[in-house]
């Protein structure tokens, strides 16, 4: 899209801005600025943003001088023109941009927008609902559709623009130059220094800074960007191919970034809330406020607050402030606000709000909605918050955790360690990442409950990110059961509550792209699984969605080797759960030497070693996982096994195969769970997530590079999951003995040794 570029002079300072809805800016500045100039023609958003940055730097320490015979207005204009020329790369490709700069006459009466009051309300509402989000324009429109009473897409731009002027939102280009600091060491740094030492002249100024574009949303660099002619901005502009599945982010496309905790004190040109004289005194009205039902996401922290006695207590009123921010900062106007006649039925409309996620707001409920939302982060409330926390915070003992959540000793010890890390203030700990390294079948899900509870109890927002959608759907009811009082949001491709802002968010990793600095706790489940593993985009997203003071907790049974190394060398804080919840050691894989699967299939013969082992497993009534490296081997192997079915003592119907290409995969997994399939030939797709109480695992061709040590550990982890059959059998079949096999066995043994040493085994 194209935007209006303009510059404002207030007092002795100047600043450049860009606007997606010019009439709003005109109105906003009409009573504030001394002078405004604007570029008559609209320019692409990407350029405007770069000019904004360039002039911001240039004008940051320039004081407007009033000298005789020198017109400051002239060089102001020139600066603007020069910057636009610089950014647009004038001369390249015959740019025919007319650089007319015009003076804007400021007249507060003329520019007063008719529905400014309404616009201020919508802006406030928008900034509350967009807080912590990073959305493309279409996504923001969809979100606002559910929130704002009107359905006029053109008005949304005005709303967003006003919110951005007040600092509650940041409007930016979705693909923009990467902010890069000059290198500090090495050859590049010397080159940079030499460049700076060059005499300033024509040659020096002609040189454009080497800028590298990157997608603001997913962090992908230039290798994922494609430059195409764009009809929306008339230039060749770049779009990001990496995050295309989540909407197209491009250089002239708008990215709306909600500043977390925004919407508290917007310096609004028109007084909207004509505050009535406050009849009651401050403390009382605040106390009244505390006892009111609140929207679901602040319910917990409020409950904690209101349970304390003494309404006049200042600390309390501050605490109340933390959970219920006022639109205007001072306590008095807060009181005034709450006592407005419009709020007479606060409780009712609020109750309505809580029960309906996206109601059509009447004017009344609009106001109430605004007054009761989103945490503020003023210095005051922070001190109140910390003091409150230091009072209530007691070091959590593993025993208490075990009792509260029914955790095993190993689980509760690790959870306590993680909690301790979580509760430490962010400045007193090194890094913000914590690794929970729990063996397969340790009960990771139960261990995250105490962490979530701790964050939710203090009014924070928590996120659980898992790589796959079916895990999200499986986990959602469990979280709902554990945290019935918190507002929960479940996000995956096509989920209904896509634009909700719950205190507890459960999402697939791709959904994290839509957040920015939103969460106090980010839990990443199975960080070594597809698609999160080896995808820099998702790593960037997971980093981006955490607040700067927040914590990331990584969960894995098989962390990638770099993370393992960091944990072992104590560079990464880590808690290990070396034993399963039933407190039996992990089954250690045994080796079976026989030819590769391709040979077996060619000769149509199964080795007696394998048959004997399979027969033994079938005889003891265990269900069998048979892993092969390639999809194409599944069907032939099933046929081969059918021939030997009688010998194995398994019904031929009970032998089945499945793979990623199989349409009725889910049905087969279900019937495997229901025991109607006794032997399932499969590929790595079933290496995680499927739990069969009594099962044995056979991995054929375990030397194949498709099976790295992590996936071997995961596959081995399918055996012996239940307390009734804690020691299943795991076999590594194949002709060769590789590093992956060795290291996977070492990992399993290490965990068993650790469990024994810590006395977790029974």
């Amino acid at each position: 899209m194209k935007v209006v570029l303009y510059a404002v002079q207030i007092g002795a300072s100047r600043k450049a801005f860009f606007s997606v809805a010019w009439e709003v800016d005109e109105c906003y500045w009409s009573d504030k600025a001394e002078r405004i100039i604007r570029l008559r023609e609209k320019i692409p958003l990407g350029w405007a943003e770069r000019v904004y940055g360039l002039l911001g730097e240039q004008w940051s320490n320039v004081v407007v001088e009033k000298r005789k015979g020198h017109s400051p207005a002239q060089d102001w204009n020139d600066d603007l023109k020069l910057a636009v020329r610089w950014v647009s790369g004038e001369g390249e490709a015959g740019n025919s941009l007319s650089l007319d700069v015009e003076d804007v006459t400021l007249d507060p009466h003329r520019h007063a927008l008719r529905d400014m009051e309404y616009l201020v309300e919508t802006a406030r509402l928008a900034s509350l609902n967009l807080a912590g989000r990073a959305l493309l324009r279409e996504e923001a429109t969809q979100l606002l559709d559910g929130v704002l009473p009107t359905a006029d897409a053109s008005a949304y731009l005005a709303t967003l623009q006003l919110a951005s002027l007040t600092g509650a939102l940041q409007l930016a280009a979705a693909v923009a130059p990467k902010p890069s600091a000059p290198p500090r060491s090495g050859l590049r740094a010397w080159a940079e220094r030499l460049r700076l030492a060059r005499p300033t002249g024509l040659a020096a100024s002609r040189r454009r800074p080497a800028e590298e574009l990157a997608c603001r949303r997913c962090g992908s660099g230039k290798d994922k960007l494609r430059r195409t002619p764009c009809a929306a901005c008339g230039q060749a502009c770049a779009y990001c191919e990496a995050c295309l599945t989540m909407g197209r982010s491009r250089e002239c496309g708008l990215l709306v970034i909600g500043v977390a905790g925004a919407g508290k004190d917007l310096p609004i040109p028109v007084p909207v809330y004509s505050s009535q004289p406050a009849p009651a005194d401050t403390a009382q009205s605040l106390a009244a406020n505390t006892s009111q039902p609140a929207p679901a996401d602040t319910a917990q922290s409020l409950a904690a607050n209101s349970s304390q006695p003494a309404p006049a207590d200042t600390a309390l009123s501050l605490a109340a402030n933390t959970s219920q921010p006022a639109p205007v900062d001072t306590a008095q106007s807060f009181a005034a606000n709450t006592n407005q006649p419009a709020l007479a039925d606060t409780a009712q409309s609020l109750a309505a709000n809580t029960s309906q996620p996206a109601p059509t707001y009447s004017a009344k409920s609009l106001v109430t909605h605004i007054t009761q939302h989103a945490p503020t982060y003023s210095a005051q409330s922070l001190t109140a918050y910390t003091s409150q926390r230091s009072q209530s915070f007691q070091p959590v003992t593993p025993n208490a955790l075990a009792k509260r959540w029914g955790l095993s000793p190993a689980q509760s010890a690790a959870a306590a360690q993680a909690l301790q890390f979580l509760n430490r203030p962010s400045f007193s700990r090194s890094g913000h990442t914590f690794l929970l390294w729990a063996v397969t079948g340790a009960g990771k899900t139960e261990m995250i409950f105490p962490l979530l509870e701790s964050v939710l109890a203090r009014g924070g927002r928590a996120l659980v990110a898992t790589p796959r959608r079916d895990v999200v759907l499986e986990l959602a009811p469990r979280l709902a059961k554990a945290f019935p009082d918190s507002a929960r949001t479940v996000l995956y491709g096509g989920s209904a509550d896509r634009w909700e802002n719950g205190a507890l968010t459960l999402a697939t990793t791709h959904q994290l792209l839509r957040f920015q600095e939103a969460f106090d706790l980010v839990l990443i489940d199975e960080l070594d699984a597809f698609p999160y593993h080896n995808d820099p985009m998702l790593h960037y997203a997971a980093d981006k969605c955490r607040k700067t003071t927040g914590t990331t907790v990584l969960l894995s049974a098989t962390p990638p080797s770099t993370i393992q190394r960091a944990a072992i060398r104590r560079r990464l804080p880590c808690a290990r759960v070396p034993v399963r919840y039933h407190r039996h050691p992990l089954p250690v894989p045994k080796r079976l030497v026989f030819p590769a699967v391709s040979d077996l299939l060619r000769k149509r013969k199964l080795p007696s070693k394998l048959l004997k082992a399979l027969e033994r497993s079938a005889k003891r009534g265990a269900q069998i996982f048979l892993f092969v490296p390639y999809v194409k081997q599944v069907e032939p192997l099933v046929m081969l096994l059918h021939r030997h079915a009688a010998k194995l003592g398994i019904d031929p119907i009970a032998i089945a195969g499945t793979s990623s290409k199989d349409a009725d995969r889910t049905d087969k997994v279900v019937s495997f769970r229901e025991h109607s399939i006794g032997l399932l030939v499969t590929t790595t797709i079933l290496e995680r997530g499927v739990t069969i109480p009594k099962s044995d695992v056979f991995i054929l061709d375990s030397h194949n590079p498709m099976f790295d040590s992590a996936s071997l550990v995961q596959m081995a982890g399918r055996a012996g999951r239940s307390a009734s059959d804690p020691s299943g059998f795991v076999y590594y079949g194949g002709p060769a003995w590789t590093t992956s096999q060795k290291s996977s066995i070492r990992q399993i043994r290490d965990m068993n040794i650790l469990a024994k040493r810590d006395g977790y085994l029974i």
């Binding site: 899209m1 494609r226 195409t228 002619p229 764009c230 009809a231 929306a232 779009y239 191919e241 295309l244 599945t245 197209r248 491009r250 590789t738 590093t739």
Partner: protein, 253 residues
């Protein structure tokens, strides 16, 4: 870990532009002559390449449909001469077009153009004269163009004109913003199309006796868009000569 020296000399892996999987060497034949189009199709992986439902032998001589075409029999007046389509519009092709048109993956553009090149070569065989004077495309409403950022028909036409050396001329413009074609019935499509387009008179009409123009669009469903565009173009050229309009479409539904 074994050192795989053979992998050092292996060709670099290239991801399929459609599905992202590795496009290994496939020895399926490509029914196109133009080298650049062939190259674009080669960058697909085997399964994607085999799933293209080419219309190699159209049954309907007029619109190039692969089965008997009721529309062409029923129609009384037709403004375009003939049209050819590259593929049948099945679910797979629907996904491919959505990838390009709605999701905005412009990397797919070269593939779609290459497929259109197949239709172009068929059209050259079918048309009496194998020489065309200009290529033009069905325009997009300005609002839609702003939203999408590109006009798919124009992009395909531009590329194709570069490949085959036929001049591209923008001749049509859209006057009205209509609802999406895919949401309407046949009857309302035909009626709604009237007065949607306007054509600019170009010097082509005065220079060439009877200019043969190729009109490019992505999908042929009832042919109402194509026919209306042809009508408008013929009207614009009527004063001097009569233009012959040939339709070239990527898919036939």
């Amino acid at each position: 870990m074994p050192l795989k020296i053979s992998s050092w000399f292996a060709p670099a892996k290239r991801a399929c532009l459609i599905c992202g999987r590795d496009s290994a060497q496939v020895t399926a034949s490509i029914p196109i002559k133009h080298p650049e189009a062939r190259q674009a199709i080669t960058s697909l992986c085997g399964s994607c390449r085999q799933s293209i439902p080419w219309i190699a032998h159209p049954v309907c001589r007029i619109c190039g449909r692969a089965e008997r075409c009721e529309d062409c029999i029923r129609r009384q007046t037709r403004y375009y001469s003939i049209s050819r389509c590259a593929v049948r519009y099945d679910d797979r092709m629907k996904d491919w077009l959505a990838l390009y048109k709605y999701r905005g993956n412009e990397g797919v553009e070269s593939i779609l153009t290459a497929m259109l090149a197949f239709a172009y070569e068929r059209l050259c065989e079918a048309a009496a004269h194998s020489e065309f004077h200009a290529i033009t495309s069905v325009p997009l409403a300005p609002e839609r163009l702003q939203d999408r950022g590109f006009n798919q028909a124009e992009r395909l036409a531009l590329r194709l004109s570069g490949w085959y050396g036929v001049e591209y001329r923008p001749m049509l413009s859209r006057l009205r913003h209509t609802e999406k074609q895919s949401l309407k019935t046949r009857r309302s499509r035909v009626v709604d199309m009237r007065g949607n387009f306007s054509a600019a008179t170009s010097e082509l009409f005065s220079n060439v006796a009877s200019p043969r123009i190729i009109l490019i669009d992505d999908i042929y469903t009832t042919g109402s868009t194509l026919d209306e565009c042809a009508r408008v173009l013929k009207l614009a050229s009527r004063s001097e000569t009569t233009a012959e309009i040939y339709g070239l479409l990527w898919a036939r539904s």
